[in-house]
Symmetry: D2
Subunit: 435 residues, 4 copies
């Protein structure tokens, strides 16, 4: 994607310009002009410079010397939206601790059930989040605030913020949530209010752009790998055994790809970004058949959004506005069964859908640390008056990413890129499964 430097300018709320109460050791604040290069590829940089262009940069995250208001007088809000992901409670906890201990914020409200909790028709009062309340929540999966899908009216939500006296809001959610965050920030700007709204990107599919890796993803891949191991064991347990695993990944197959790379048992990795054919000499069925004849067992990992073109289109959407997908796992299960039956080949297919077991886990150690730092940087950003932005991680630095640029497109596997090449090397599958 073409990124223009002006796209990366971060919005700010009107600021009272107060000295920050946060005190880093050695007084190490991040300066207002510190930036992180978008590309660390020297040749790309050279091209920009040769053409007299400013290379695109992200604003660097971190504590600033001045805050937009006196934190000790603020009430802050937190809301968690969309599907579960390992680490949401860690982020909530990190926000509460950084607000309370880092900036002396006196009151933190947790709005329940996603954006529904910010509407005037909220089913339940917000939780008051203190360090005691959040002390051990990170040991459990899910979100103590509960969640919901779908947008709410921005005006209504801003009214709630005002009526609750909320002076800064943190949203934890995916693509749709971030669009809602952006709408909120715009409505706030329209009213000329000084309420920063900062997003922490949550996507178990790892499909939000300009975040090298999203939180919970490593934990999810570890569990996906367990499902693949189970499929492998089942495949080897029978003559011509086929283990078929459906993994998350509606439009981006990162979980399937990385689980394939971290495992060693996958023979076919199918993702939304790379079309495949079932029929024909180069299609999945015949290629699989030849492998079974040779090795007597095989494992297929398929992302839920793969192979949609092989199924009849459905136009329904879920509450978040995501198109409902055809069930590629069941479709493959059935297609394989029919094929081998028609070929008179005795094949045993075991289908595993670990589904919610992947996303409901508590974060492992590397995700726990990542969530801690995302939360801390979100607090620094909001206190510095940044708004309509989310925290990113890029080229070894935490960054500020304007939400409009983050949601402009979805991060996907590049079928001509390095990651997919590694998957091809690891599985030995043909570059094209074409009829």
């Amino acid at each position: 994607m073409q990124l223009n430097p002006e796209d990366l300018v971060v919005s700010r709320v009107p600021s009272a310009d107060v000295e920050s109460p946060y005190r880093p050791a050695g007084d190490r604040f991040v300066e207002e002009d510190q930036q992180v290069l978008f590309s660390s590829d020297a040749s790309q940089l050279g091209q920009w410079l040769l053409q007299g262009q400013t290379p695109p940069c992200f604003e660097m995250a971190g504590p600033r010397r001045r805050t937009f208001a006196d934190p000790r007088e603020l009430t802050c809000g937190i809301v968690t939206c969309g599907g579960l992901c390992p680490g949401v409670n860690n982020v909530i906890r990190a926000l509460v601790l950084a607000l309370t201990y880092g900036y002396g914020v006196g009151r933190v409200l947790g709005f329940r059930y996603g954006y529904a909790g910010l509407s005037s028709k909220s089913p339940r009062e917000p939780m008051v989040l203190t360090p005691e309340v959040v002390d051990t929540i990170h040991q459990q999966g899910g979100t103590v605030l509960s969640s919901s899908r779908g947008p709410q009216d921005a005006k209504d939500m801003v009214d709630t913020l005002l009526s609750r006296g909320v002076g800064a809001l943190f949203t934890i959610g995916g693509d749709g949530t971030l669009r809602g965050t952006s709408a909120l920030a715009e409505e706030i700007a329209r009213r000329n209010l000084a309420i920063p709204v900062v997003g922490i990107p949550k996507t178990i599919d790892n499909d939000i752009e300009w975040v090298d890796r999203s939180f919970g993803f490593v934990t999810a891949v570890e569990e996906a790998k367990r499902a693949i191991s189970a499929a492998h064991v089942e495949a080897r347990g029978a003559l011509n055994g086929v283990g078929l695993v459906k993994l998350m990944g509606r439009q981006s197959g990162f979980i399937a790809a990385h689980a394939t790379l971290s495992s060693s048992d996958v023979n076919f990795c199918l993702v939304p970004e790379v079309r495949f054919a079932l029929e024909g000499d180069g299609g999945l069925l015949r290629v699989l058949e030849r492998r079974l004849e040779r090795r007597h067992h095989a494992v297929i990992a398929v992302a839920e959004g793969a192979g949609q073109e092989l199924m009849k289109a459905t136009l329904a959407q879920d509450a978040s506005g995501n198109a409902r997908l055809g069930d590629v796992g069941s479709m493959l299960h059935s297609a394989l069964g029919k094929w081998f039956s028609s070929q008179g080949m005795d094949v045993t297919i075991k289908y595993i859908d670990p589904s919610y077991m992947v996303r409901s886990l508590p974060a492992n150690s590397v995700d726990s640390e990542f969530c801690l730092l995302l939360g801390q940087h979100a607090v620094h950003a909001a206190m510095a008056g940044r708004t309509n932005m989310m925290i990113g991680f890029w080229n070894q630095h935490f960054t500020h990413v304007p939400i409009p640029v983050a949601v402009r497109q979805r991060k996907q596997i590049d079928p001509d890129g390095e990651l997919w090449q590694r998957v091809l090397d690891a599985t030995g599958q043909p570059a094209k499964l074409a009829d």
Copy 2:
């Protein structure tokens, strides 16, 4: 079940009565007449004695002083049948090590793909199993010998044993496998051959009688508990969240019951042994509805064989001759959705089917030890010439159980017994979910 002492007499092959090469420390052999009381309940024992009856006893397992043949001249066979279960490789390994190091058996053959590997149409040659070959197999789930379902002709299999020179056979499998083992032993007896056939009961459902607990069961419950935790996290993650988990258990709900007791998150445990109604004021739907109104979330654990009477009968059978079950998980998922939709109640249902992830794990430590001892005792039994029997575990002792008595009925949860009472106490669910 009424057990008669004569039912518990263990068959033997014609014996050459050789001194055993196995040497326990302190020369601690088990004597021929050592027995384990069927019941440790003193009042039951008193009744038998008062009535002048001999209380039923199992033959105690363990090394005998004399073997039915010279082990050093034997070739032994191993076969694994039916579905996977944690620990099968541990049993294979224990058999090979006890045969090789304990008795000096020179050659052990592993027949592949279950009883199919013992037929004259076997798809593949048997593996030669040495201590080196089995050295680390227990670290992997599944079975290195692979498996298959369904019976084979006993005469054909005995012919294979003879042509391969197999002098003792060990079978690892469930109900159907044990019936096959019995048929084999009977055909061998008919031909007056001295080939003991000993079964090691394998059932992830823990539904074989006279085995206090079957191998792999503890490992399976641990994984089932993980699925329940995931369901609980999902249930709490939404307003009126319902987590629904389908667990193994075709005719016996032991996995569901024990996972419920070892977890603390299940509100409704549904098993094949206890009928439940969906409709009506005391049926599942309304009872669940009242709980959601009160607590806003709930978890249901359902064994796959539960609620069959609520679905249309299907007459199909799988290759092992098991009746195909209606899919109670999908049925409940759909019934709950319809009900709450009809009630205008906004409910989020998350359905988890951990399926093969439960049974493909390697054995945990307690199951590993149990498999080791089952394997060793099976070797002692075969070397002592016992046949048409399986190894049991009862009242703190390993035992010899004649297969005909073991397969006479299936072990099930007693709806009036202690285990089910504990489940009712743990879940708080009504004793009857009746319309």
Copy 3:
């Protein structure tokens, strides 16, 4: 040990003989005369009967029709003593839930820091334990009540019970704790008070008699096996690598023995019950040397109480009155180093002491269920007015065991018994490591 039937009679407090508010499904109470045979070995039973003796039996645990007092008017107390063990929080939780929901007890107090919390000099007020307070405590290792070692004056503790209005007390602890429980019960009897005191035996070493397996033991063995795996990996990572693991087991080597049986990596298992020599041709050093020459690596698992006779006696005791042990791990580490150095053999020794990592874990699923049932049965026992007893598990039944008979001797591995024979078979070590 010789057990006389009269030793197994369980004490009772003066009873007001009230109808129990606990309602099992199907009205399945345990009758007052139900008993569990001590031995399920038929030949032992036959001997008793032939000699006209009553075979020793344990009182069977379970809910009785009548309680010693009206539970709804009771305050109950819980105290946890001695070292940590997986599952203590599960037992606390089970007690609170069974008292509250099963019997309608209105108030449960958790005394902190062991018996110190029952003394008049208690460092802190007791916790009020409600179902909400204990809701998720079982997910964490350790004890929410904290613990301490050592006895307190029984009179002082009874005074505390009276001043707090405690009508029944549950103690969770080991050998020393149970002696304290017995002293408490005797002081209560002396004052003719109706305060039952019931113990739940806690011993990570599994060394309390008449409990087939103590809670937390399976979890501990699983972690011990991890340490052994680490030692095995280290041993194979170097030329003549030796992995040395010290495991818990002051006077009983059950953890070392079962971890050896559940692993497959131990070549030498050393326990307190079986003496071994270092020096001499049959001593550990030379036998190990010969193994290294043959296989180039070895793993030793040693219980902390093994080999004490090889070290200088120390007379010190810890606060619980346990003799301080010599550090056999360091002694072996050093002795091995010196020996191979004197032999000019290049050996790499890696010493692992997993120590507190073993005992601080949360209980796994099988221990969780076991803790639940122990807690429930302790509540049933106390409500039935039993006192000076602990809950046991024997021949597939929960039992009531008088504490005096439980603490008369320590459970140990029988060097001539089956368990040790299995260890010898599994390791291949000589029956005697003698000089």
Copy 4:
């Protein structure tokens, strides 16, 4: 550290300039001039550009169009040196698979026991490593090739390479190993041989420069976090309980720091890079005492190299030439005991040293993938004729790092940097523990 562009030029062996048999999809080779910016901080880049300097860059890793020789005629060697680390077997496996399947290399030799296996006095023949041999080795911790510490004579090792016909060598090891790799490459250059030598940096301490994160580190931190959890449970289990955990980290405290950030239980993190005092009002002892008075429990995580200045210097070295460290864990254990005893404060200290349990684990999923990619890139580098270099990972790209620049200094925590600030925020410990 000041990096000059010329320091980052990668050495090459004399090349026969052959067309590469490796075929990436879409023909995506890395071009010879592709480079990765050392710094993604835009202001640093600006300074270089303003001063007319070329910003330092690493050569980008990846497959090149031309190889230095025909891979199909090559024999390649692999050697693993120094201490164990999760993932070594994954790297070995990745090398073998990439060489065999990616480039058609016909023969891969695994030299055993580190550099000792490359000397003329090697204790054992090298293993022939085929895809079958390495098929499942990644499921086990440690190294199938075994290891050893310490250097060997470079001339002797080159002689071995020649006599074995080795045309490219891969070394897996730490600081010392890389120096040996450099010496080897220089000796090869001296003889004008075309044998590339490529290192894969292995350091559980994560202390090698220009590798953003070393392999196995995430797995190690996960296990370190387990030890910290155990310490936390123990600390809370007693009045004034102190859990003390010693973690790896001889000169760099990254494991301690990241385990602290991923856990939430550490109150004092002590690392080699930051001095601390025991005595005095701001020293550890009094600060800890004040915490115990306030909270009654505390956890200390100490890296093994911390606090060396508080112990008497020792001059001994281990076989790798590392200075032997004083045992800071035992020192603290003893100092704390003495202090609180002198203060008359009843404190319970539990000391945990998870030691080898941290480094002997198999790699988790994220480390598994990382090892796979390191191995593949090492193969691409060697086939492209690069030598005297190691594979790095920097700013989201795999890189080629000349070994001389990699070993020039050790990577350490910057006490004024962001990581340490996060640790201070997470623990709440004073920025200086000074007397």
